[in-house]
Point group: C2
Chain length 382, copies 2
């Protein structure tokens, strides 16, 4: 039985929520107000205790599951995971997907209209952080009347938000599912992000972030950033298995066009991404990744950073993920255990690298399913 | 005792050799002739049997050891390895460093004058291969009267040339030292090279390779290529140990300038490199890396590719080298052993990643030293 064939949410229509009060960012900058676009799946129960917030990663968005009303051919990015009878079962839970502040899928971001200038925000949009996202998501939860989430979950940068929720709002989160994530980026990860950002920043079409007014898009930079990103989301073995040293035309061409199959794949991914993703959003997402480091404000101690946490945790890592390695997940587990928290940990064997968290894998899906089977939809903590 | 303090070669003057006959490249292209710039260290013995050829890697050149007469502050890139009393002992051996054809340090390359057009070669310079380099180095050896090398050695792309020598000219090589190298690039390595090349190819200042006539240099692309390269030459642990999450100014700046120490390092390396290295040379060097795959013309069998080899081998790998991993070196060793060759293999524990082959390490240097101690300076094979 193919997992993604189990039932379907059908067509889902995104919703919008407007926040008119000024929003103070961690950076000290202030937004005059903002909008969030979100989708929901399933039904909120009477005491509003069955909500699960799904946080997205670098290039994700609010369209987590089902088919989008804006493009009925487009299934959500975690459609295999979220739906009726799926590991995150929408027959039991009310699931929310939200496009992060600063995003480029409908929430207020660098491409949005800046009421102060009458132009797109562009370079004037503040660098937002995981803290800012959690704060803005909490405002959305307030408006939906959700005092406490049954769970907050996410992979990669999404897992960072889930952890930050448990630190900043311990009373509002019963469970955290932190998948393929880390307590902070490694030096190497920051370095890769810096190269990707530099590709965008030095693209002549970037215009210091104000390319919208110039009628151009820094396609070259975005394309390079995505190509590089893709290499690091996969594993060496996965790439070797998928493409090997295969040649498109069977023989060496002695030129600089596409020759190896892997080049064809990367350029296709780069072109596709550059055609729709916003360059400023890419910059700020990578910066939020770089900045996430809860131990930093706790004297360098992750244990101390997790001291306020009261949620139970499921931590999941993948054996071939070299960007968010199992070792980093174990650090999360150890720091939580030190604080006496209930932690389940699973290291999934997978050859798909960091991308594993987005892919169907029976063991992985069983782990999430069984964890959530034991999460009460009712029974909010007092 | 610091190894690089042992004696010194003093100031070394590069020499030039002109080849007037047309040179047929593996690609089918032909050069009307070419020049190679090279340096030598030590003294060629009477029967010309004590010569060692050092092949360089992607960004290397002929200035292997000693101080350059062109810049007396500049020690050669392998000065710790090559010199009187050093592991490659110039009291015993006559060592040759040569800038590869297509390079940008004096040998004929894309920036050289094309007699056919009266302009720099630029885009008309052929894509050269490891085979072409070995063929051109053999012509240099002919002119120097060297019928057989005591050893051909190199790290990374240099090690690929050394292996190709043993395949193409079995009778001209008694020993090969193949260090931090591989029988071919992995898919992931090709992918990284493709991103680097795309950074250069899409730089508006590249002008299809003919930027010389436009009075510009594709600095942005070269800089990105080098930044990316640097990440892959180091190990995750080495970067973490050297820079950690250290901030230049002690606090987050919430902007896109240099913040983390590792960003400062990468940009400095990128800027330095882009100021002197030729973009076309970078492209062709990475292509030569991608193409190297001796098994390809032997039905996919490295064993069969090594069948002609008669040289003895020293193969060295480094534990933290994830770009040319010990596993790939072991494949070389196995294929040579299958052919009944004498092979020494050493896997050196080092945290410095691929860059380890350029760095002083007592165990590594002892391995090279003792191997070469047992290489006769005289006694060429018949």
């Amino acid at each position: 039985m193919k997992l993604n064939a189990v039932h379907s949410l059908g067509v889902v229509t995104p919703q919008r929520m407007q926040f008119d009060a000024p929003f103070a960012c961690a950076s000290g900058a202030q937004l005059p107000g903002f909008e969030l676009v979100y989708e929901t799946y399933g039904t909120l129960n009477a005491d509003k205790s069955n909500a699960i917030l799904v946080c997205h990663a670098l290039s994700g968005h609010h369209h987590v599951a089902g088919l989008s009303s804006e493009d009925p051919k487009s299934a959500g990015w975690w459609d295999t995971m979220v739906g009726p009878g799926k590991p995150v079962d929408t027959n039991k839970f009310f699931v929310i997907g939200v496009n992060n502040l600063g995003g480029c899928h409908g929430s207020t971001g660098p491409g949005s209209h800046n009421p102060a200038s009458g132009q797109p925000y562009g370079s004037s949009f503040p660098v937002v952080t995981v803290d800012d996202w959690v704060a803005s998501q909490a405002l959305l939860a307030d408006r939906l009347g959700i005092r406490q989430f049954a769970a907050v979950m996410g992979g990669s940068l999404g897992g960072m938000q889930a952890m930050q929720w448990a630190i900043n709002f311990p009373e509002r989160v019963r469970h955290v599912l932190a998948i393929a994530t880390a307590p902070s980026l490694t030096t190497e990860n920051i370095a890769f992000n810096d190269v990707a950002r530099n590709a965008i920043l030095t693209d002549p079409d970037f215009h210091g972030g104000d390319f919208y007014q110039h009628g151009v898009v820094p396609t070259r930079g975005l394309r390079l950033a995505r190509m590089l990103g893709h290499i690091t989301y996969l594993s060496d073995d996965a790439m070797a298995g998928k493409f090997g040293r295969g040649l498109r035309s069977g023989d060496y061409q002695y030129g600089y066009g596409i020759e190896f199959e892997v080049e064809s794949y990367l350029r296709y991914q780069g072109d596709k991404f550059a055609a729709y993703f916003d360059a400023n959003t890419y910059l700020l997402m990578t910066k939020a990744l770089d900045y996430f480091d809860p131990a930093r404000l706790a004297g360098g101690s992750l244990r101390r950073a997790f001291a306020p946490v009261s949620a139970d945790f499921l931590v999941v890592s993948f054996s071939s993920d070299w960007r968010f390695s199992p070792q980093r997940s174990r650090q999360i587990v150890q720091a939580l255990l030190h604080n006496g928290r209930n932690v389940s940990y699973s290291e999934i064997t997978s050859t798909h690298g960091h991308d594993s968290f987005l892919m169907e894998n029976p063991h992985y899906f069983d782990v999430v399913r069984s964890y959530l089977n034991n999460v009460a939809a009712e029974g909010a903590r007092p």
